[in-house]
């Protein structure tokens, strides 16, 4: 089975915001601060001998907090954690297998770089939250 980088990103970010890291969306009434991550694109290459083992994915990582500088601080810590991956790095994470049991799995990342970030305000619910939306390019072995 091909490896996907999502669990590795989740695992890396879990050390922030007291572990309040969610894929795609936050639970209702989740207290800030928290992080939402999701893959928004993926690219892979084919060689003459078949598909490359390396692939790249774009991740959107949103850091939500009450207050502009709190969200900036959280985003800064996320960035420091992620861009520190500059070479082949194995990330071991917990995984739920098909039988519902927990196993350990390893994803190998080749590098993470920040592509852009933008300050936003999320007014969809109370309290209004400051949000820093970052896009990262993640290179990984699949």
């Amino acid at each position: 089975m091909k490896k996907i980088p999502e669990p590795a990103i989740h695992h890396l970010l879990k050390t922030l915001a007291d572990g309040a890291v969610f894929a795609k969306r936050a639970p209702d009434k989740q207290a800030p601060p928290y992080i939402i991550f999701q893959r928004i694109d993926r690219e892979q290459w084919a060689h003459i001998n078949g598909q490359s083992k390396k692939a790249q994915a774009l991740f959107q990582i949103d850091c939500y907090a009450e207050g502009y500088y709190s969200s900036k601080g959280l985003a800064g810590r996320a960035e420091a954690l992620l861009v520190a991956i500059t070479s082949k790095t194995e990330i071991t994470h917990d995984e739920i297998d098909l039988d519902g049991g927990e196993t350990q799995s390893t994803v190998t990342l080749a590098g993470i770089s920040l592509q852009n970030d933008v300050d936003l305000l999320d007014e969809t619910d109370e309290p209004v939250l400051d949000r820093v939306s970052q896009t990262y390019l993640v290179t990984f072995y699949q």
């Binding site: 969306r25 928004i40 694109d41 959107q60 949103d62 939500y64 007014e123 969809t124 619910d125 949000r131």
Partner: protein, 159 residues
Amino acid sequence: MIASSAKVSSGSWPRQKAIKLKFKAKLTGFDGLSETLRELPTRVENKVLQKSVTAAARSVRKEFQNAAPRDEEGQSPASELYGRGYRNIRVQRLKRTEKGQKGARITTGNAFWLYFYELGTRYQPARPWFLPTFQRLQKAILSELAKRIGEGIEKESKK
């Protein structure tokens, strides 16, 4: 060589600045025409560039409208108030640009919910539609721009 630029933005919503995707492009291969453009009065040169940039953006407006998310079953209250999202997608000429640059904006107008689709919210995953469309059409925009500039210069030089 002719340099031009275009700005593309995905609209705005209350208390929220528009997200701007800017791209600058250098078009080459206009050796003869570039000289002709320089010989034209600045007013005419500006007119040719502005018309070309706006026309290039207009040429892909339909693609953005087709790519915009839409609810086939009904309309949300916001959509009833401001009109269907894809109908809000328009091209505007940028009036304030740096010297020597001309620009056009593809805007989502009042359809602020298209912005939620693009970037997501805390309760809604991002479903980007604007940026992928823009990336897909970048080459088409540039070739349309080159074509329009060439036609514009020829037309003005014959006057």
